[in-house]
């Protein structure tokens, strides 16, 4: 079994018979050990993020995003001017990194969702030779170090890479700079404001590296469920004259919606937080920084409080991810119980 288990909050079902009562001393020691272990390794580090982020108070926290501006009409020393200037520059870079993280995720998530749905459909509805190989290939990114994930794209598309010549001269538009220009210059009223040249050291490389490390999540969440649900409902819909698309959207998709959401949440969490792969392909250029890269830079500049402030946003997202996962688990367990139906009596 390769790769990370798709983790669920496990609850007790009625299947196991109760164990004999445990020795109370052993019980207490084990609970203590477990709680201490989890506290030291998870709770304390998590709390520390927020403690450090707030080490300059709430104003210090806010200042990372909204730096104080020089008061109007005041005369400032050079040092003071530089201080305000640095604060502003740092805030701009921080906001850019948030924008970069979100826009990368905005591109990566839909593509991975499409892939997950396609891969799950292909591997669960059909029997063909090489099906197990395909499933193993989908698990491959879990066995690869993130640095290697970034490395392979550099080797493929970098300056000395296999397609290096083609890649370094490739020009592509910034999809997020699409804007309205009117009909004055021709029939097509949209244009891109910005383009990039090259792949490595541009956001395109970040997108590619992020896709590499995150695409299995949706597929792995959907496949076991679709495998166990079988194709009877789809066959029934087809026999009633429904088209393939209608069957997919009205029958298959509603049946897997929670697993899909689960996979998307895991995929998003990983996309926001990926560090190694992105670091390798971004070239350490400020404009290419995602939030994790920004954290590293702030830390290297000894700006701890700012680093922790940005980290706190990601930590908060992680907590939200966990809460969402827990809620989905409770919901799906509830569904399992009600699907048993009533008796005929």
């Amino acid at each position: 079994m390769a790769g990370a288990p798709i983790a669920k909050v496990v609850s007790r079902t009625g299947s196991a018979r109760p164990a004999p009562p445990a020795n109370p001393l052993i019980r207490r020691i084990l609970i203590l050990l477990a709680v201490a272990f989890l506290t030291i390794f998870i709770v304390v580090p998590l709390v520390n993020v927020f403690v450090q982020a707030l080490s300059k108070g709430v104003e210090g926290y806010v200042a990372v995003f909204h730096p104080p501006e020089a008061p109007e009409g005041a005369t400032l020393t050079i040092l003071q001017k530089r201080h305000f200037g640095e604060g502003a520059a740092q805030a701009t870079r921080t906001w850019n990194s948030i924008g970069m993280t979100l826009s990368v995720a905005a591109v990566v998530l839909p593509l991975n969702i499409l892939f997950g749905l396609a891969a799950a459909w292909a591997t669960t509805k059909f029997h063909f030779r090489g099906r197990t190989l395909l499933t193993s290939l989908i698990d491959l990114p879990f066995s690869v170090s993130p640095v290697v994930a970034g490395l392979v794209f550099v080797l493929l598309l970098g300056r000395n890479g296999i397609f290096g010549d083609w890649a370094t001269h490739l020009t592509w538009p910034d999809v997020f700079s699409l804007h309205w220009i009117g009909f004055a210059n021709g029939p097509w009223p949209f244009a891109f404001g910005r383009s990039f040249t090259g792949v490595i050291f541009t956001p395109l490389a970040i997108v590619l590296a992020s896709i590499f490390v995150t695409f299995p999540f949706v597929a792995r969440s959907l496949t076991p469920l679709m495998e166990s649900l079988g194709s009877d409902e789809e066959m029934a819909a087809l026999s009633l004259g429904a088209s393939g698309w209608r069957t997919f959207f009205k029958i298959t998709l509603p049946n897997v919606k929670w697993a899909l959401l689960y996979g998307v949440i895991l995929c998003a969490a990983r996309a926001f937080g990926e560090f190694g792969a992105v670091s390798v392909v971004s070239g350490h250029i400020d404009a290419n920084d995602t939030m994790p890269l920004r954290i590293e830079k702030l830390w290297n500049e000894y700006n701890n409080q700012a680093a922790f402030t940005v980290a706190s946003v990601l930590a908060l997202l992680a907590v939200v991810t966990l809460v969402a996962k827990t809620l989905i688990d409770w919901k799906t367990q509830g569904n399992e119980r009600t699907s048993e139906g009533v008796s005929d009596a």
Binding site: L238, S239, L240, G241
Partner: protein, 336 residues
């Protein structure tokens, strides 16, 4: 609609599941495909439905004389009912039944009022009018199967195909539903084929029974005929309990337990009577099962009505005489 299939073979990998099967079904008939698991009955049903494809070289599947082997599942206008209902979990009973109507292409789709009317009349037919807005998880197995049937009927199929429709239900519900199916069929007269391994069900419900074994149809005839005039040993053995008496020259006498009469003395038994000893008596309500051991140590199962048993007043260990009153002679094929 008449259905005719000719020379259909189907294999899964190395195993041949259907061997050159021919079958002709008349319009409006209710035919049962009866056989043990592995006999190919479900595969045959699915080939007719268009859910499986027969092997290359097989003959056609004809609906009203037209070859539909190349026609997609959705275009054959069949109604299929699954053993485990396959109701759409996220839709209400009403939506399930309306699904086929709503899925029609725009040109053919009836308007909403029409759909409402049709679905409600089907709900009345299956007697579940007030459960229209329940969800499948809130229904019993018997109710779910009725909804599955209504859903299949909504698109006015030319044939109804049922795959072990009552297999997942309790014995009582099964009996009720099979009678209900027969009455439904008598009302709407749609050509129907259903698959079952329960011979009681097949005999009780159908107009004709196709007894299948190892990919072949052993006999296709009315229930009375397959029971009283079985074509071979397999059909006889599948349709009920039996005793086998080995004869000379490799043949066997197959006798039903209720076709054996027990007598107290040889004279009333007749010239072909055999002696035996009562080894076990089992009370089963209206019928008493008596086990005998004949002189050559053959085990014999006899069934007699309770009244006849009381008249004889048998007890364990007693010596009696028994005679066969209706046997079927078949060669013994040890590959069965």
């Amino acid at each position: 609609m008449t259905i005719e299939i000719r020379n259909i073979s189907k294999s899964y990998g190395p195993s041949l599941v259907l061997r050159n099967v021919d079958l002709k079904i008349n319009s409006g008939e209710l035919v049962a495909l009866l056989g043990p698991s592995g006999s190919g009955k479900t595969t045959l049903l699915r080939v007719i439905a268009g859910m499986e494809q027969a092997d290359a070289g097989s003959g056609p599947v004809l609906f009203d004389g037209v070859d539909v082997s190349g026609v997609d599942l959705g275009k054959r206008r069949i109604g299929f009912v699954f053993q485990h209902y396959a109701l759409f979990k996220h839709m209400s009973v009403f939506e399930n039944i309306a699904f086929g109507l709503r899925a029609k292409p725009r040109r053919e789709r009836p308007d909403e009022a029409h759909i409402q009317e049709k679905v409600h009349s089907l709900l009345d037919l299956i007697q579940l009018r007030n459960l229209a807005h329940r969800f499948p998880s809130q229904l019993s197995g018997g109710q779910r199967q009725r909804v599955a049937l209504a859903r299949a009927l909504a698109v006015e199929p030319r044939v109804l195909l049922l795959d072990e429709p009552f297999g997942a239900l309790d014995a009582t519900v099964r009996r009720e539903l099979r009678r209900w199916l027969r009455r439904l069929h008598d009302t709407i007269h749609v050509t129907t084929i259903f698959v079952t391994h329960d011979q009681e069900e097949a005999l009780e419900v159908s107009d004709r029974v196709a007894v299948m074994n190892a990919g072949r149809i052993e006999q296709l005839a009315s229930p009375q005929e397959v029971y009283e005039k079985p074509a071979n040993a397999f059909v006889f053995k599948f349709l009920g309990n039996y005793n086998l008496f080995h004869g000379r020259s490799g043949g066997g006498s197959f006798v039903r337990p209720h076709d054996i009469k027990i007598f107290r003395n040889a004279e009333s038994a007749g010239p072909d009577a055999q002696p035996g000893m009562v080894t076990h008596i089992g009370f089963g309500g209206p019928v008493v099962k008596v086990e005998l051991e004949s002189d050559d140590k053959t085990h014999v199962d006899v069934e007699l009505p309770a009244q006849a048993f009381h008249d004889l007043n048998l007890r364990r260990g007693e010596k009696v005489w028994f005679a066969l009153r209706g046997q079927h002679e078949f060669p013994l094929d040890y590959s069965i």
